[in-house]
Subunit: 342 residues, 2 copies
């Protein structure tokens, strides 16, 4: 790739806005001088912050003014209607206009999804976009979707999610045929609700490397590459996982600070526990892809810190380098024409 | 309570059958000489095993012969039709006939649920039974249901689950008004699918201490006492949680065995990590209640060891002592008559 990549950043989005986005941008540019980051937001605030960071003249940074901000608890419909000059909307417009190849926002998920869908539109053959991220697993990592863009999904939509997840995993992990599993309450064929059973039928057609039903444990403990589910189940699974990890971390901390002896033990254990924690550090997994759009949009966690947001920017760069939307489009075209032929 | 409690045990059920159930029974009787355990299964196998354990003449043990065994992967419909003399079925019959007040089985969940429902019937006003267990949480523990008895649930059924979970939590934790939350993808009122929104309406009537929507993280990290969801979501959440815990344990082990230095650190850390592990030990949480039946049935994990199965027996004893089915019945009667009056 010799072509210059430009990523637009929603500077005002997320819990920390400019305080996280600009240092994260700096961090990314230290390693990638072939990338331009387009900072979208209040230009006075951005200029002031860049001065403070000694980045005023950085060749890799550009500013695009936007006068509004979408609040974290704002209704998507309200944001769509009344925030046409928000940093989020303008950052997405940059992708639409071809001035950026991807956009990153830590703004509220509902508004980001609705705006991205409204501005960019879905790819031909895709009913609804989905949110996909990678999660740590005993075998490396697992891609999971949908994580909350859609509450109810039809079997056909689950099939589309599987296809999009498979393309993303294939592109970013350089795997020929990622192993795709359908999340269910059991591995036996007769189990599950009607939608899941019907989706299993569609997935068995052979278009993807479908390995059958997988269970909740498999997300973290088996060699499935892509786990497909509807957004309700996906979002709850993801948040439950976060809860378990948080509780375990709480109990470990509590035990190691119980008394003088356990505090001494902690001195020895700390470096090891840190190495362990790095492996499942959610910041290293920050940056979920909104798949199925005519353009790339990456959602960062709202509370992301500098390391986490920098990771989301890196995901955006990779998605652009690997040309993910184009790959989904062409893969879909082949599958749809095969279906018509049969 | 001075009345003698009898619990029937499905001795042939689970992955380990007699090898786990009998030592677990012994363990329980060491502390509870006011309890009789009715061992249901092949009498020759049971007698032989009791001899081996030196329990042949134990006054707290009785044998009830059953000639068949339900396999772990057997279809519920098949078990119902062809295994009328299975240890599982006969153990449940004991409850029906009043010869035991509760039954414990580590046999396959589908068959156990179907058989229990067929033999015992549901309580008046309950459409479907649900599976409820307690899970470790930062605040102590949380009760969660349904964990897989029902794939699709109506709003009214979710309300019934909430009521049953609330009664169980109240009875076993001695809490006046347990805090009941409805599992959803966000805490805002406009979020979630239609069933969840409608259930929220029913729960807001004031019959229970309903605190609103809760998210996946809250199961393990907040002070909600009872988390209500349909069985599809509940089962997947539970298994995902197991997966996260397994992965974390795997990574901790891996880091501590990386080299000679980390192995030395492990020597210091081990007692602390063991204390931590005890707090979230799944064996201490073994024993899920099948709620909504005219009798008490406790489901043990199929792979339970002696400690875990003993825990499930203790749950059964507590459920009997606290008279849970009767409490659900009378609570339901009050709520239904209030509804009719309004």
């Amino acid at each position: 790739m010799t072509e210059k990549i430009t990523i637009s950043l929603d500077v005002m989005g997320g819990d920390h806005g400019v305080d996280v986005v600009l240092p994260a941008a700096k961090r990314v540019l230290e390693k990638r001088n072939d990338v331009t980051l387009l900072l979208v937001g209040d230009q006075d605030i951005i200029k002031h912050a860049l001065d403070g960071l000694g980045l005023a003249e950085h060749p890799g940074l550009q500013i695009q003014h936007a006068s509004q901000r979408v609040e974290m608890d704002e209704l998507a419909s309200r944001a769509l209607r009344f925030k046409k000059d928000s940093s989020m909307r303008v950052a997405i417009n940059m992708v639409k206009e071809g001035r950026a190849q991807a956009c990153v926002s830590a703004g509220n998920t509902g508004a980001l999804m609705a705006t991205a869908r409204y501005v960019l539109k879905t790819l031909p053959g895709i009913d609804r976009p989905a949110i996909c991220t990678s999660l740590p697993s005993m075998m490396g990592h697992t891609w999971m979707l949908d994580l909350g863009a859609n509450i109810d999904s039809s079997a056909e939509q689950l099939f589309q999610f599987a296809l999009m997840g498979s393309v993303l995993a294939s592109a970013l992990d350089h795997k020929e045929a990622p192993r795709v599993g359908l999340l269910n309450v059991g591995e036996e064929e007769m189990k599950g609700n009607e939608v899941v059973k019907e989706a299993a039928g569609l997935l068995s057609s052979g278009a993807l490397n479908y390995i059958g039903f997988v269970e909740g444990t498999d997300v973290y403990c088996s060699d499935v590459d892509v786990v497909v589910c509807d957004g309700f189940v996906g979002n709850i699974s993801l948040k439950t996982s976060e809860g378990v990890a948080k509780m375990i971390s709480h109990f470990i901390k509590k035990e190691f600070t119980r008394n003088i002896l356990t505090r001494m033990a902690a001195l020895f254990a700390l470096p090891v526990l840190k190495a362990f924690r790095r492996q499942i550090d959610p910041r290293r997994y920050n940056g979920a892809s909104l798949l199925g759009l005519r353009g790339s949009v990456i959602k960062s966690h709202g509370g992301a810190d500098v390391l986490a947001f920098a990771n989301a920017i890196n995901v955006a760069i990779e998605v652009v380098e690997q040309n993910v939307p184009e790959r989904i489009k062409s893969r879909l075209k082949i599958i749809l024409s095969e279906r018509q032929a049969s």
